[in-house]
Structure formats: structure tokens, C-alpha cells
């Protein structure tokens, strides 16, 4: 049913730390791997070894250059996947009811056997979180690894989204953002977690932690500076003689 639930019991989602992400794309690969081998239609590739390869991904990492007013330019790696919005515009536009938001945990999913592949949900998403699979003709999107997080066949430490489990930098966090006492909610509160495109009115559940200001590191750059200063001008002894001799040449 494409009517959005009035409220959800939980708001499961991700918190992505833009200060910590190193842009290694490991989350992209683990996402592609898990979601190709498990739930739903595989994430296909077209012409993967040819001249013009394309494919379906549920998570992609952009990189942006920012220039703070007082400080050096910075490179920010920016992973982007479905934000599991509270006011998900992709759900209400769906004509078949294939797109839905779960009342129990807020995860936005696609029932692939009801999807006609019209693409309107992808048009309605401002974040580019949905991609039509060119081989299957159905809409693919992040499931928050719904087939991992409740999967009792997996060891407990693996019951989190593949992207979170694999991140070597610890830049991705998973939890209930509806519970103000959860670790992810605390993290968002401490670090000033933010919404993407708040003006679009989607109320995303996923939050992004902004890069920490870098200007207070400026002093640090001088730690080695004294050691690198030119040697004393008024040289004495053998080196002094050599210096003068070479000057005269």
C-alpha cells in the first residue's frame, strides 16, 4: 500500500560520518555483493568487461571539494544511498503498491513482483537512491539489508547492513534513530547530524555527520617546523671555512 504509515515503531537508518570516511568504496562493493547474492533480483551489470560498462548500485560514493572561509580546501568523501525518508515521495507516487514503507521499522522497500518498472519513484526521489535494473526491469533500492539485520542464521555481529559491517574506517553506523537514547541518536546529537536537502520536505531518517572544522589543526603543522629551519648563518670551524671557500670560488 502506497499510503505512508502515520508513524513507525522504529526508525532504522544509517548515520554516515563525513569526517571519517576515507572514500575507499568498500561499502559500495560489499553492498553490491550482498544484494546480488541475496534478497530480490540481482544487481546486474551491462557490458562489465567491455568499453562502456554500467551497472546497478544501491550505494555510491561521491567526492566533493569544499573551501572553508578560514582554512585550507578539503576533500569530503560522500557515500549516498536510500535515506529511508519519513515522508518518502517515492512511495506515494507508486501506482501499483510495489513501493512501501514498513510500519514496524520504517524501512522503505520494493515488492519486485508488483513493480511495473515505470520509473516514477526514481523521478520522485531527490537523492538518486533508486535505480532501475536494466536486466530485470524492476526498481532496485537499499533495503537496509533487511535480510541481514533480522537474520538469526548469521552471527550477531553480522546482523547489520553489509556497508556498515565492512567499513574499515568506522564511518557508518546503524541503529534506531527514533529512539533518542540509541547510540546513533546520541552520535547525531553530539556531532550535529544533518539532513540532506531538508527543503524537499522528505524528512530523511539517515543522518550525515559534518566534517569537523580543521582550522584548529593549523598549529599542529608547525610541530616539525623548528627542525626544518635553515642552519645557523654565522658558521664556524671546518664547515665555516668550507662555506667561505665555496663562496669565493
Amino acid at each position: 500500500m502506497t499510503e505512508l504509515p502515520a508513524s513507525t515503531q522504529k526508525k532504522l537508518g544509517l548515520v554516515i560520518d563525513l569526517d571519517t570516511c576515507v572514500g575507499c568504496h568498500a561499502c559500495v562493493i560489499s553492498c553490491k555483493g550482498w544484494n546480488t547474492e541475496n534478497y530480490g533480483a540481482p544487481l546486474s551489470d551491462q557490458d562489465p568487461y567491455g568499453a562502456d560498462p554500467t551497472g546497478t548500485f544501491l550505494n555510491r560514493v561521491h567526492s566533493y571539494e569544499i573551501t572553508p572561509e578560514d582554512g585550507p580546501a578539503q576533500l569530503v568523501h560522500f557515500p549516498k544511498s536510500c535515506l529511508h525518508c519519513e515522508e518518502a515521495p517515492c512511495v506515494t507516487v507508486c501506482p501499483t503498491g510495489a513501493s512501501y514503507k514498513r510500519a514496524e521499522d520504517g524501512i522503505v522497500l520494493v515488492n519486485e513482483s508488483a513493480c511495473i518498472g515505470c520509473g516514477l519513484c526514481a523521478w520522485a526521489c531527490p537523492y538518486g537512491a533508486r535505480e532501475m535494473d536494466a536486466a530485470e526491469g524492476v526498481m532496485k533500492k537499499c533495503t537496509l539489508c533487511v535480510d541481514r539485520i533480522y537474520n538469526e542464521n548469521l552471527p550477531e555481529e553480522d546482523r547489520e547492513p553489509a556497508c556498515v559491517r565492512t567499513c574499515p574506517a568506522g564511518a557508518r553506523h546503524f541503529g534506531d534513530l527514533g529512539d533518542p537514547d540509541s547510540a546513533v541518536s546520541q552520535l547525531v546529537a553530539d556531532r550535529g547530524g544533518m539532513d540532506l536537502m531538508p527543503e524537499q520536505g522528505t524528512k530523511p531518517v539517515n543522518k550525515y555527520l559534518p566534517p569537523r572544522p580543521k582550522q584548529d589543526c593549523a598549529e599542529e603543522f608547525d610541530v616539525l617546523a623548528p627542525l626544518l629551519k635553515p642552519v645557523a648563518e654565522d658558521t664556524k670551524g671546518f664547515l665555516g671555512w668550507l662555506d667561505k671557500a665555496l663562496e669565493k670560488l
Binding site: 502506497t2 566533493y64 501506482p95 511495473i116 518498472g117 520522485a124
Partner: protein
């Protein structure tokens, strides 16, 4: 947005077909018998042909019937219901007009209202999208409705009415372009809000991959905009200007009428191509494809 031929043909021709059904339902002209047969055949060919064309862009057309289920929230689902209702009601009305020689006047009005509602629901599919600021404005339904009604009047042979409606549609078209050109900037969405990395300058440094993808193909059509100004002039001249001039020639026969329709349809398809090709989806910001 990617200007997919199936969607351009669908919206153009079904708009014309439903526009014609509006006038047939209102009894303008009050036709019965063979003349009615040909006019209804034309209207149904355009409307149904357009609807069939729209299924070509579906990944799974065999599941299309499921699109009738979500009318409570989805304009696409409402469009499905309204189009079928309009076609059925006008089918009964048309059958009586063609084969029984009688016009069931109230049924015709009801059918005309349903045909208008169908075009409105089509236009709302685009107007509802906040992600495409150029479409997310009240002028979008007005633009698609005015074009549909003007084209319908033209096909129904309502010469003076068609001239007036075409002039009105031209004014709406120009206003839609004017407002649309500033829509992305006015929407407040830019790379800074998209990434939350503002307020200083944010620049897309490196895309997520070296190749293309579904998002780039579907939402970031930039090639066509190169000739947008020339194409706008062509759409305005062929779609509105020439037909109005031809319609105002007194005692114009069928040859001029056909020329008029041909010119209008060419202009209409050009305008509809621009409607998609010029529309900027905000996801392009993430890829650095929109002026920030």
C-alpha cells in the same frame, strides 16, 4: 530529464485525443452517423494509441493492471482510472451517436468532464514532482490542459474557438518557459543543501564511477538544451503561430485545415520534447551537472 520517445508520443497524442473527446462530448460539432464515426475513430486512435505507447517504457508491461490499485495516493493510478472511465463513457455516447443517430447529451457532458480530468491527472504526474522544479508549478497543469483543449478544438473543426484557445495556450507556454527557467534557482535546492557541506563553495570533485549509470541517463539530459532557444522558436511558430494564422483565413477548406493540424502536431511534439529535455532533476546536483 531523458526525453523518451514513448512518453513524448503518449502525452502529445493522448492529450490531443482526449481534447477531441472533450469537444465531441460537448456536442461541438453535434455530429452523428458517418461523420461521427470518423471523428470518434480519430479520437480513440490518438487516446488509446497514446496510452499503448506509454506502456512501451515499462519494465514489466504485463503487470500494468496493478497500476489501478493505488488511486488514493498516486496520480499515475488516478490517470489509469480516469482514462478508462472517459473512454468507456465516451464509447457509449459515441456508439449512440454513430449507430443510433442520437446524442445522449448529459452523458456527453459527463464524458467531456472525465476526458478533461484525465489530462489533468496526466499533468499532475509531472507537476507533483518537487524533484523537478521546472515542472513543480501551477502552470504545468495549465500548460498541458490548454494545449490539449486547443488541439482538440482544432481537430473538432471549431475554427474560431481553436484560434482563441491556441493563442491562450501560446501565452501559457511562454509563461511556463519563463517561470520554469528560474525554477531551479528559486527552489532553494543546490549542491550546498544537497550535501550539507555549505555555506562555503562546494564543488563536485570526483564522481562515484568513471562510466555512466541509470541516474545519469534518466535525469541528466544536457545535449538537447544546446539548441533550446531555436527549438522554442520552432515550437512556438509551428505549434501556435502558423495554425492561428491559417485558422483566421476566411473560408479555409480541408486542405488548409490538414496543413494547420500537421503544423500544430509538429510544434506540439517539439514543445513536449523540450518539456522533458529542459527539465532539470535535482539529483543532477550530486553529479555537478547543474549550475550551483
Amino acid at each position: 530529464m531523458h526525453p523518451a520517445p514513448s512518453v513524448i508520443l503518449f502525452t502529445s497524442f493522448s492529450g490531443l485525443g482526449f481534447g477531441l473527446l472533450v469537444f465531441l462530448g460537448l456536442g461541438l460539432p453535434p455530429v452523428t452517423g458517418w461523420v461521427a464515426f470518423f471523428l470518434y475513430a480519430l479520437a480513440y486512435a490518438l487516446a488509446v494509441g497514446g496510452l499503448l505507447a506509454s506502456t512501451f517504457h515499462l519494465g514489466h508491461p504485463e503487470r500494468a493492471l496493478k497500476a489501478f490499485t493505488q488511486w488514493r495516493t498516486s496520480w499515475l493510478s488516478r490517470e489509469a482510472w480516469l482514462s478508462v472511465a472517459a473512454l468507456v463513457v465516451m464509447g457509449v455516447y459515441g456508439f449512440a451517436a454513430v449507430f443510433l443517430g442520437t446524442r445522449l447529451v448529459p452523458l456527453g457532458w459527463f464524458g467531456a468532464a472525465l476526458a478533461l480530468a484525465t489530462v489533468s491527472s496526466t499533468s499532475m504526474i509531472y507537476a507533483q514532482l518537487r524533484t523537478v522544479p521546472r515542472w513543480h508549478q501551477p502552470l504545468t497543469p495549465l500548460h498541458l490542459l490548454s494545449l490539449s483543449i486547443a488541439g482538440g478544438a482544432l481537430l473538432a473543426g471549431q475554427m474560431t474557438l481553436a484560434a482563441g484557445l491556441l493563442a491562450l495556450a501560446a501565452a501559457v507556454q511562454v509563461a511556463h518557459w519563463q517561470v520554469g527557467d528560474a525554477a531551479l534557482a528559486r527552489s532553494g535546492t543546490d549542491l550546498a543543501t544537497a550535501t550539507g557541506l555549505g555555506p562555503g563553495p562546494v564543488r563536485a570533485f570526483e564522481p562515484p564511477h568513471t562510466g555512466t549509470n541509470y541516474l545519469l541517463k534518466e535525469f541528466m539530459h544536457v545535449v538537447g538544451r544546446k539548441h533550446a532557444r531555436k527549438l522554442r522558436l520552432i515550437a512556438l511558430t509551428l505549434g501556435y503561430g502558423i495554425p492561428v494564422v491559417l485558422l483566421l483565413i476566411p473560408g479555409a477548406g480541408h486542405v488548409l485545415g490538414a496543413l494547420c493540424v500537421l503544423s500544430h502536431v509538429t510544434g506540439l511534439v517539439t514543445s513536449r520534447w523540450l518539456f522533458f529535455a529542459e527539465a532539470e532533476h535535482v539529483v543532477g546536483l550530486y553529479y555537478g551537472k547543474r549550475a550551483a
